[in-house]
């Protein structure tokens, strides 16, 4: 339980600091509201349109491919570090894993998932 006190303190101090800064600027800051200051600010230009637009399905294909290689790297890197210790057994296990991923890659490739147009 005592371990969590530090986290609690951190949270409290953080909230307190934010509150202090905001309170100070409210109390002492100059205030000259105008119409233009009241508009929403989006990278310097007027916001327009709806944020909910349709994205091309191609982006999702790329995302899926990314995940495939991402997961592969996540599991193969730790294996590579200790590959010597694990010897042939580790190699076979890693290859089984890679084979399964390769089936997925072959499937995606053949389906045209890697073509942009």
């Amino acid at each position: 339980m005592i371990d969590y006190v530090a986290i609690l303190m951190l949270g409290l101090v953080g909230v307190a600091m934010c509150a202090t800064v905001v309170a100070l600027s409210v109390l002492f800051g100059p205030r000259n509201p105008s119409r233009w200051k009241g508009t929403a600010y989006e990278s310097g230009s007027e916001p327009f349109g709806d944020a909910r637009i349709r994205l091309d399905v191609k982006y999702y294909m790329i995302a899926i491919s990314f995940i495939m290689f991402d997961v592969e790297a996540v599991f193969l890197l730790p294996w590579a570090v200790v590959a010597k210790d694990y010897g042939a057994y580790g190699f076979v296990v890693a290859m089984v894993f890679v084979t399964i991923l390769v089936v997925g890659l072959v499937y995606e490739w053949q389906k045209g998932g890697l073509e942009w147009d």
Partner: protein, 577 residues
């Protein structure tokens, strides 16, 4: 080296491995084939895959029940029997699918691959010995089915079904994960059997030294490494269960979340909202798969979870015990499922609500299993019910798929008018499925309902003998169950009335698909044969339950001289009074 995978590990997961291999082969066959060619043969490939998996499960029947893969999986009677069930459901689904998919212009091989992967996930799920494996398998099963529900891309209804199912399923998974995290927080282990044992020991540990108990646990088998204690220091990781105050709410909350998520998957009222839309919106073969295999897997894994981890007396029968939860879930599911099914005009939606009602009947047996002193053998009635239910449901959905032609779905009751004369065999089969669902002899459904209610009456008798509170309520549950199944007869017979006693309103021509005919025949014959000769299947389901490894029956600890310690369950019950 202890990290090596042993041959028994591979052998025991053979059904899973076979299904995944076939899934990958089907995927590759699909992409290396030219577009526009028929993919119907993949149905046979998948059926062979399921047959191989079922055969390997059958071969494993002789293998003694044990923990494999470093205490992560079980190979036992329960996992083998349920694997047979999943494989049957999957194979029949694959057989009824090809013509239907071709009619709807959705003849793609991914369908079969997804079915195979999903069934693999189910088999893994019911054999899981650890929450982590359980959750991963659950996701493997679910994600494939989400995609399957929206499989017919041109259909708006299917897209809606898929999306609803996905959202609800994702929520249920998140709830499950949160529950698992809380249970882990309260017990310090994710191993199901270890959770169950630690909870019981903890409850009685007012007078017993935990370290001694854990040394006893390790003598019980391979659980030593998985049990919730630090192997280097020997410290018990579990927060004091019996005496503790802080972790008990945590544990109850965790168990509740896990059970809620599980009944979400089986579609018990009040967690059933997604079910009618998902079942009726999805393509008929997918509806068949969801209603049969997915539900069976969810029920089987619920049985496993309850039997292994949460069978402690206090957790079942205590003031916040889960028996009360399943009691009300059963009652509500039977009531809402049966009553709302009456009002349906679509056969598919009627089947969906009837599936909710069946969930209720099976929950009656689960309530009976957990009631009083607790008798896990009563769970066998659920296993038997699942077999009867799977054949009836897949068959009924299969007939709807068989009748569906391109652009015209056969869904309404009136679509079936007069078909009993036009297609005599089909009419007989549908009649059988409806009689079985209604629980009328000589079909499988009758024996199944009988078993379920018998289990509840047995539990009632045992409860009265032991002086448990509320035994009469269990009897009331049985009576209401029987009354509600009488209500159910109305809408099942309505199908038969439309088949034989109404004039056709429009021309319906069956798709005349060979494999579908095989699949439906298998279901019809099984429904009838199980109804006439239930003996072998009853034995099989009893075997499944009695050979469930790691199940928590209350007595584990043996003294040095071999005499068993006093029944912990009774000890706790007396303590709680």
């Amino acid at each position: 080296m202890s990290s090596l995978i042993t041959p028994i590990d591979i052998a025991s997961t053979l059904p899973f491995i076979v299904l995944c291999l076939f899934g990958m082969v089907v995927l590759l066959l699909e992409v290396f084939q030219r577009q526009g060619q028929s993919r119907s043969y993949l149905a046979y490939v998948s059926a062979v895959g399921f047959a191989t998996a079922a055969f390997s499960a059958w071969l494993l029947m002789g293998v003694e029940g044990q923990l494999v893969f470093h205490d992560m999986n079980y190979i036992d009677g329960f996992s083998k029997v349920t694997a047979l069930l999943m494989c049957t459901a999957g194979a029949v689904t694959c057989l009824i699918a090809p013509r239907y998919l071709a009619e709807l212009n959705a003849d793609r091989g991914e369908f079969y691959a997804l079915i195979l992967f999903s069934a693999g996930g189910m088999i893994m799920m019911v054999s899981a010995a650890d929450f982590i494996v359980f959750f991963m398998a659950l996701e493997l099963m679910s994600i494939a089915v989400y995609a399957l529900a929206a499989y017919v891309r041109s259909s708006r209804v299917a897209a809606e079904a898929g999306f609803k199912y996905f959202l609800m399923g994702a929520f249920a998974s998140a709830i499950m994960l949160y529950g698992i995290a809380l249970v882990y927080g309260a017990t310090g282990t994710t191993n199901l059997a270890a959770i169950g044992q630690l909870l019981s020991y903890g409850a009685a540990s007012g007078s017993v030294d935990p370290a001694l108990l854990l040394s006893k646990v390790s003598e019980q088998g391979a659980l030593a490494g998985a049990a919730g204690y630090d192997t280097t220091t020997g410290d018990l990781l579990m927060l004091n269960y019996g005496s503790g105050t802080a972790n008990m709410p945590l544990l109850y909350l965790g168990i509740t979340l896990v059970i809620v998520s599980a009944v979400f998957k089986v579609g018990a009222v009040p967690f059933h909202m997604w079910l009618p839309d998902a079942y009726s919106g999805a393509p008929s073969p997918v509806g068949a798969f969801m209603a049969s295999a997915v539900k069976a897997a969810a029920f089987a894994s619920l049985l496993r979870l309850l039997a292994l981890a949460f069978f402690d007396y206090e957790l079942r029968m205590g003031p916040m015990g889960w028996v009360q939860v399943t009691f009300f879930l059963a009652l509500l599911s039977m009531a809402i499922g049966n009553l709302v099914a009456i009002a349906q005009t679509s056969v598919k939606r009627m089947l969906a609500y009837s599936s909710i009602a069946h969930t209720g009947y099976m929950l009656v047996a689960i309530t009976a299993m957990g009631y009083g002193v607790g008798d896990l053998d009563l769970g066998a009635s659920v296993v038997f019910y699942l077999f009867a239910y799977v054949f009836g449901t897949v068959g009924a959905f299969g007939i709807l798929a068989y009748l569906t032609r391109s652009r015209y779905y056969v869904e309404r009751f009136s679509d079936l008018n007069g078909l009993g004369y036009r297609y005599p065999a089909l009419g007989v089969a549908m009649t059988l499925f409806m009689l079985s669902s209604a629980g009328i002899p000589p079909t499988a459904g009758f024996i199944a309902k009988f078993q379920v209610f018998k289990a509840a009456v047995i539990a009632y008798g045992a409860g009265v003998e032991a002086g448990e509170p509320g035994a009469l309520l269990l009897l009331a549950l049985v009576v209401s169950g029987i009354l509600f199944s009488v209500v159910g007869v109305y809408y099942y017979l309505k199908v038969i009335v439309h088949l034989y006693m109404r004039d056709p309103v429009r021309e319906v021509t069956a798709s005349d698909s060979g494999p579908a005919r095989v699949g439906i025949s298998v279901c019809a014959i099984a429904t009838l044969v199980i109804g006439l000769f239930p003996g072998p299947l009853l034995n099989l389901s009893e075997q499944a339950m009695s050979q469930m490894e790691g199940r928590h029956d209350g007595v584990y600890v043996q003294y040095e001289d071999g005499a068993p310690i006093e029944d912990l369950q009774r000890l706790m019950r007396e303590g709680s009074r």
